[in-house]
């Protein structure tokens, strides 16, 4: 119950934050930003780029599963590595899985070399961090193939004051006859 409240609070805070920075008509991007945190690639799907969204979901999901497979399908605990522990929360889905799996400490999968343990945790962490990059690409108009920002009203070329050309002869004062 406490976790649910925390998720709702963090989600609400992010939503308000994103909404404040969005212009009118771009609220969908804010919603997509949140959806992108919850499920990797969902933000792109919401904005109509479903191929890209599916690609991100597949590649990040496969990487996460591989990392979890190495670490015995147990999430990164704070004792294993504090940085990896924080990094894995870059996605709501990984956060949910980590909470559902409980506080079991990660162990190397039997049969694997012990030296694979740390890279396995790294794989899990990297998925969270990469999801943050994917989320940020949602608010980047260029990455989404959006239009260039229009010229602000009142700044049309015709309305701008004429700039004098350097070196141009100034109008000479008339000589007295």
């Amino acid at each position: 119950m406490r976790l649910l409240k925390l998720i709702v609070a963090v989600g609400g805070f992010l939503f308000v934050l994103v909404s404040l920075f969005q212009k009118k008509g771009e609220r969908m991007k804010g919603v997509a930003f949140l959806a992108g945190w919850l499920v990797p690639g969902a933000g792109h799907v919401l904005l109509g780029k479903w191929k890209k969204g599916l690609f991100f979901f597949t590649i990040l999901g496969a990487t996460y599963l591989f990392g979890m497979w190495i670490s015995g399908f147990r999430p990164v605990s704070f004792d294993d590595n504090p940085f990896y522990f924080v990094g894995q929360y870059g996605s709501g889905l990984t956060l949910l899985i980590a909470k559902l799996r409980g506080a079991q400490k990660a162990i190397i999968r039997p049969g694997l070399d012990p030296s694979w343990f740390d890279p396995g945790l790294l794989y899990v962490c990297v998925v969270g961090l990469l999801n943050l990059v994917v989320m940020l690409s949602l608010v980047d108009a260029k990455a989404l193939g959006g239009e260039e920002p229009a010229t602000p009203a009142g700044l049309e070329a015709s309305a701008l004051p004429a700039v004098p050309t350097v070196g141009a002869p100034a109008s000479a004062p008339e000589k007295p006859a």
Partner: protein, 61 residues
């Protein structure tokens, strides 16, 4: 060799990172793959040369 087998995990994770970073800023799949592979080559070269340098330093100096 088994002790350093974890180095094999370098390639998939770096490739995933580079592909996702490129995909986040571009739409052309060919360009994404091309740039990601080129960057993977550069990073691998840096890793190998750095490793060789450290090996040489430790072995003979």
């Amino acid at each position: 060799m088994n002790g350093v087998s974890y180095l094999l995990l370098f390639f998939p994770i770096v490739l995933v990172i580079l592909v996702v970073l490129e995909a986040a800023r571009s739409d052309d799949p060919k360009a994404i793959l091309k740039r990601a592979l080129a960057n993977l080559g550069v990073l691998t070269a840096v890793l190998v040369l750095g490793g060789a340098f450290v090996y040489v330093i430790n072995r003979w100096f």
